[in-house]
Amino acid sequence: MPKTLFDKIWETHVITTRPDGASLLFVDRHLVHDATAQAFDMIREAGLAVRRPDLTLGTADHYANTAGSFDQQPPHLADMALRLLENARKDAFPAYGVGDPNQGIVHVIGPESGFTLPGTLIVCGDSHTASHGALGAIAFGIGTSEIAHVLATQTIWQAKPKLMRITIDGALGSGIVAKDVALEVIRKIGSAGGTGYAIEYAGQVVRALSVEGRLTLCNMSIEAGARFGLVAPDQTVFDYLKGRRLAPSGAMWTQALDAWQALSSDEAATFDREMTLDGAAIEPMVTWGTSPEQALPVSHCIPDPAAEPDRLRREAAEQALAYMGLRPGTPMTDVAVDRVFIGSCTNSRIEDLRAAASVAKGHRVKVPAFVVPGSGRVKAQAEAEGLDRIFRAAGFEWRKPGCSMCVAMNGDIVPPGERCASTSNRNFAGRQGKGARTHLVSPAMAAAAAVAGRLTDVRKLASEA
């Protein structure tokens, strides 16, 4: 029987299936971070320990201080990163604390270290875990009780999701990147359109994306409601992984490669839902509201909620515009921003920083702007390439790795009422700080907004320069 990529990996990991259809799955890789302390409390209260510390890897990210010194962060936040290290010591699994060269955002360090591998099943207590599916893995976000379950058993109960394939053919226009594709997908299917599904991304556009681009695309699956997103592994992925610190090597590499090359959906495999997009029609995207589905090409105007026939959607649009302080009919490119954030598990990898730096080069920011590399390794590489000097010369603040202003848990916040062009994944009310107004964009668009002081079509900025 023809099988999908998802079926193939799923079946390999099923230990048993309950009469209600949920399966007990073996977890090959468990990533933990500094916002999961309560899960460790749960297993200790139950008198249990981490069952497979060898398959567990921790990093400080949500609470990681991205400023220069610790006195810039309240102690109760700094403590969270330290508590992860304490738990790691107690249970003898490796974990990277602030200042460690391998530390970084959990969804950045997994792939870059080679901890994330094709064909594996990966979980993490974070909804953006689908990112790792970019390398051809089943990866999904879980809650605190589920983290405790994985820590104690190295397994997780999960009902098999329905499968959706999103095929993006054609070629992206100049200046259009994975972030724009992700926002276009979410706009099309809605923020609950993928609920209950695993999304396989396919087509010429996806094949042409780098691993970094695929990570961005899979990362935002949850913003369309889907816990899982994945891409069939190919030569791009194999080349990316070869030689990585924790990836197989020697004879083991050859064996792994044989297994990975079989990982794609069979031609006759069927999906519960199929959707196609024309890559050539995608424009630079920007969100205008407080849900990622409230997105439009930057060339458009703020929409009029009155034109929305569905009552709940209309009310949601009205509330969003009131929160965002925007009026229908305003061209997106007339919207002035107060601040820019370049970072997060969506867009903080080397390719993202290169794209932002190429726009920033030779310009000067008009508003405060943060660049927060995704990991110590990304930071080091960017510095080796001189990107930090480009950013600094343009007036950007070059920070230390962490989740930072995407989730605003470490003290990096957008002040109330301020408007921020951000490369992160969520424009929810209050996400970047109480009263903060977020516009989601790609790294190049964020850099363009920083130097123009307003939302800007990066393609126009490039042609004016």
Partner: protein, 218 residues
């Protein structure tokens, strides 16, 4: 967790689309230990003003809803972040159930780990509950899990729930303890999996570079 059998309680309306877990509990409160309680953090930024005083207009601050234990919500309730604290905040505030047309996947899972019954309500049920709350703020409904019924004013609607989740809720069972009963099976499986995918074991122990490396930066 507290078992759920039959519950009678006050309904409260919170019928907006796409209420994300950042609205249910803002990220800045997530560091709190579980035992410290999360009830006063529920919908924090919608519920309290700058000075920390209750906003009188917010639904849970209105006299009719202060003792509400069943939340009637809009589509895609609990979308976004996986934070289980969103469920803890509802539970600690006294909610036993949320009824909505649909839920964020991770939030839905988290509910059942904490004895909070998430009911996917059909359109007629939701319309009737909404109308009843409008007619009579503070109106009570009964949720009967064994029968899979919601009842109000002599009307009755049924709902679906998978058999395992239902049983776990009825018993208040701990999933970890249940899974650990199958530990021999897990051990056999993991040995077999490693034999078939030897590359999936980690190549070498990851050096623990970090025990002492948390520093004040460069």
């Amino acid at each position: 967790m507290q078992p759920f059998q039959r519950h009678e309680g006050v309904l409260a309306p919170f019928i907006n689309a796409n209420v994300d877990t950042d609205q249910i509990i803002p990220a800045r409160f997530l560091h709190r230990a579980r035992r410290e309680g999360y009830g006063n953090l529920l919908f924090h930024d919608l519920r309290y003003d700058e000075a920390g005083a209750e906003k009188p207009g917010f639904v849970l601050n209105r006299p009719a809803y202060r003792t509400a234990s069943i939340l009637v919500a809009g589509p895609n309730f609990g979308c976004g972040s996986s934070r289980e604290q969103a469920v803890w905040a509802l539970v600690d505030q006294g909610f036993r159930a949320v009824i909505a047309p649909g839920f964020g996947d991770i939030f839905y899972n988290n509910c059942f780990k904490n004895g909070l019954l998430a009911v996917v309500g059909e359109e007629r049920m939701l319309a009737a509950l909404t109308a009843a709350m409008k007619r009579q703020p503070g109106v009570q409904a009964v949720i009967d899990l064994p029968e899979q019924h919601v009842r109000l004013d002599g009307e009755c609607w049924s709902f679906d729930i998978d058999s395992y989740r239902k049983q776990a809720m009825l018993e208040g069972a701990s999933e970890i303890q249940m899974t650990l009963k199958a530990i021999a099976r897990i051990e056999t499986f993991e040995a077999k999996l490693l034999a078939s995918m030897p590359w999936s074991g980690l190549r070498k122990p990851i050096p623990n570079e970090t025990a002492s490396s948390q520093t004040a930066g460069e």
